[in-house]
Symmetry: C2
Subunit: 193 residues, 2 copies
Amino acid sequence: MTTVPLTQNKLGARERLLAAADELFYAEGVHTVGIDRVIERAGVAKASLYNTFGSKDELVRAYLSARQLRRQARIATAVAQHDDPRAAILGVFDLLDEIFAEPGFRGCAFLNASAESRPEESVDSVCSETRGWIRAVFADLARTAGAADPDELAGQLVLLYDGATVSAQLDRNKAAARTARAVAAAMVDAATG
Amino acid sequence: MTTVPLTQNKLGARERLLAAADELFYAEGVHTVGIDRVIERAGVAKASLYNTFGSKDELVRAYLSARQLRRQARIATAVAQHDDPRAAILGVFDLLDEIFAEPGFRGCAFLNASAESRPEESVDSVCSETRGWIRAVFADLARTAGAADPDELAGQLVLLYDGATVSAQLDRNKAAARTARAVAAAMVDAATG
DNA sequence: TTGAGGTTAGACAGACCTGTCTGGTATTGT
DNA sequence: ACAATACCAGACAGGTCTGTCTAACCTCAA
């Protein structure tokens, strides 16, 4: 039967490939970085990549899924630190402020990958999945906060979330998250007043 | 000396190339569309493209510059229709609502091109140029409206402008511009109260 | 008519990309 | 020790891309 170490090795190669893909795809773009760069960075043979993922498209999908999980975990942690839903909403924008200040920040991986992708590629499904998740988080918090129209408030918060990300990247606007946070506070207060 | 018809022919080829580039680059992305597709669409020989623009990068730059001029003209027209600066600001978001509803809308050409581009390409300069222009328009209107901190208000409006564009494209959110408009109205009122 | 300049279609070079395949190697369980 | 299995390195095929170049063509001006 299958032996344990084999799986371990395979997971090792898989993880190294994902780590290399995460670095390179995020920093330089999905279509700019070729397979050869990824396997060289991962220290892995080309055959291993195709045995593990089957295609570059699937590797890209796995890279985005891993990013999605990490992003969701960070947001969930930030939200869980507050009992007050209003504070939790603002905590998401505080988290954005942290993220924008991190070295190597280059915008939203999903926005970037989506702009690069062709329709037949499987990027958009991951992208819309994670966008729906964030919108649902905002909607839940808005409902808990007693907003008159939770979906409307969630839509406003998503706008601010995306707008801050775009401005942080393209304008190198370090205050983008704080600006968005201030507007978000005003909108939450207006919706729950 | 140079004859008039020669120049006319050259302008004709240039315009046909720009029209084809505008259609294809915007609809399918800059890196997805090859030179061959553009010249076929324009009905022009490859040599004419390279005589006129010199490189694909320069064609992309010209395509974005043309988009920039049209976008600026539309915004300026929308702004000029209102005497009241508050109404003018909201008029920009009404214009966005129009744009999002147009057939073939596929997001902001500058955001898309920037996400696709590599640093050595000349996309980012056009992109930051047009972003600075829009921010300045908002700042002028905010100042005229008597905002306490016009730059702060302009930053908020840019956030909403970008966020609406992103949501309109990725979420196919037809209400994005109206949502942004409502938030913008609240922020203008808060800043000029 | 003749010549010049811009046009066209298309071949071509050189680079890059994805994905397959071959052969050699290290590690594992028996 | 031995066989199985995944690993590595790298050649290779087939495709696409940008950009150059050739040769025929058309349109004007003298």
